[in-house]
């Protein structure tokens, strides 16, 4: 049920990310809406769904980019895993736990993407890419982390209302 809703939502976010976010860049970095969705959904405790979502949404992202198909999927699956590593120990203990999760996920996500880009284009200036793309993107992701977590949390509660014992 959750994936039936999340996959169209992720498709929509993929389009927004490719059609609109390029106009809202910070330096050359832009917010990763799909990553935020995957991480936020993982933080609700539905890791399996978030990883499947990462797989599907990552492929959609790759279809609209020059990255080989599957790379973003791998990066998103890894990001979802990393984001939930400390689940139950740290993240749920604090209101701003999503910030840490998103920061970790963004780091892993860009590490994988960066590695692939280096393999495809060996001459890429890593320090420049870090300064102009990764760090601004991380900042934007952090800014959107809490609103994203709250929105996705609301969606999760709507799709999976808590069971009430009578």
């Amino acid at each position: 049920m959750g994936l039936l809703v999340l996959i169209p939502v992720s498709a929509l976010l993929v389009i927004v990310q490719t059609a609109v976010l390029p106009f809202f860049e910070l330096l050359d970095g832009r917010a990763d809406l799909v990553l935020l969705l995957v991480v936020a959904w993982a933080l609700t405790g539905r890791l399996l769904q978030s990883m499947v979502l990462g797989l599907v949404a990552g492929m959609l992202l790759d279809l609209l980019s020059g990255v080989p198909l599957g790379v973003s999927a791998i990066a998103l699956i890894a990001a979802a895993n990393v984001a939930t590593l400390a689940q139950g120990r740290v993240w749920r203990a604090h209101q701003f736990a999503a910030l840490g999760a998103v920061l970790l996920a963004t780091t892993v996500y860009y590490a994988i993407l960066g590695l692939v880009v280096l393999l495809i284009h060996p001459g890429t200036d890593i320090s420049l890419a870090l300064a102009r793309i990764v760090l601004p993107a991380a900042l934007l992701n952090l800014l959107l982390a809490i609103p994203a977590a709250q929105l996705v949390g609301s969606l999760e509660r709507t799709l999976y209302p808590p069971k009430v014992a009578l």
Binding site: V16, A19, V20, L55, G58, P68, L69, I74, I77
Partner: protein, 276 residues
């Protein structure tokens, strides 16, 4: 046999799946499937993208307005500059027309030597019909020299300074020009009225003067060279009891539109006054 956590297994499976997709894609096996998925995605992007971009434009419009205003100011300044340039060029084009006409006029009498001068002002007195030009003794201009333009006779030099001269127009009441009517061959003398109207007096009663006849300088008296157009007869007043008949003439020169004049420098007027 070691026990793997479900999470690890799941992650590994999904990563393996993604890796498989990556390899298959790189090998080109997924090309048809990619096209199949991409088609609706791109169609959706085509629908949503422009609308979201329009919303973005709306949101960013205040900034755009400021930019547009600044650009508008720049363009207005540019328009003003270009308008000034157009005015200058039009003036130059008009001047070229005048000079070409003057050149044609000068070619008509190649025996004459001309000095070109620009009109720099009119006489300060409203009662005198005279002009100031920017050529004087330094340019070889002398008192009494006739002044013409491409249409005909303008007047004569009455005051000369090193760099400027004063030209008395033939429409000045003090001026009198000996003229000849081209067809009737009758001689006469112009007399200007205070309102600028030009008349030819002293026309013989026997002369058959008709409206439309050309009036040229006759050269009599030695003040002006002959054959310079002065005007055209528009009406004739002939009374039997008068000795002479009179013609009203419209000057061939438009005295309200004088810019560049030619001084006939090769012409030396005759004078009866000693010392001049």
């Amino acid at each position: 046999m070691p026990r793997f956590s479900p999470r690890l297994l799941l992650t590994a499976s999904l990563l393996l799946l993604a890796l498989s997709v990556l390899i298959l894609s790189q090998a080109g096996y997924l090309r048809p499937a990619e096209g199949l998925v991409l088609r609706p995605l791109v169609a959706l992007q085509g629908v949503i993208g422009p609308r979201l971009a329009a919303l973005r434009d709306l949101a960013s419009s205040p900034g755009d307005v400021a930019t547009l205003r600044a650009r508008n100011v720049e363009l207005e300044a540019e328009v003003t500059r270009l308008q000034q340039e157009v005015i200058t060029l039009r003036e130059q084009a008009a001047e070229v027309d005048v000079l070409a006409a003057l050149l044609n006029f000068a070619r008509g009498a190649p025996q004459n030597r001309y000095v070109a001068a620009r009109v720099i002002g009119s006489d300060a007195s409203p009662f005198l019909r005279a002009l100031w030009i920017d050529a004087g003794t330094n340019a070889g201009v002398a008192r009494g020299m006739p002044v013409v333009n491409q249409s005909g006779l303008v007047g004569r030099i009455i005051e000369v300074y090193p760099t400027a001269s004063r030209v008395s127009l033939i429409t000045d009441p003090a001026e009198a020009v000996n003229v000849r009517l081209q067809d009737s061959r009758a001689d006469g003398v112009t007399s200007a009225q205070p309102n600028g109207e030009l008349r030819v007096d002293m026309i013989d009663q026997d002369a058959e003067v008709v409206p439309g006849e050309l009036v040229l300088t006759s050269g009599l008296g030695g003040n002006y060279p002959p054959q310079i157009p002065v005007g055209q007869v528009i009406s004739v007043r002939r009374r039997d009891f008068e000795v002479f008949q009179q013609a009203v003439v419209t000057p061939s020169v438009d005295f309200d539109d004088l810019e560049i004049l030619l001084i006939v420098a090769s012409f030396t007027p005759l004078t009866t006054q000693p010392g001049q």
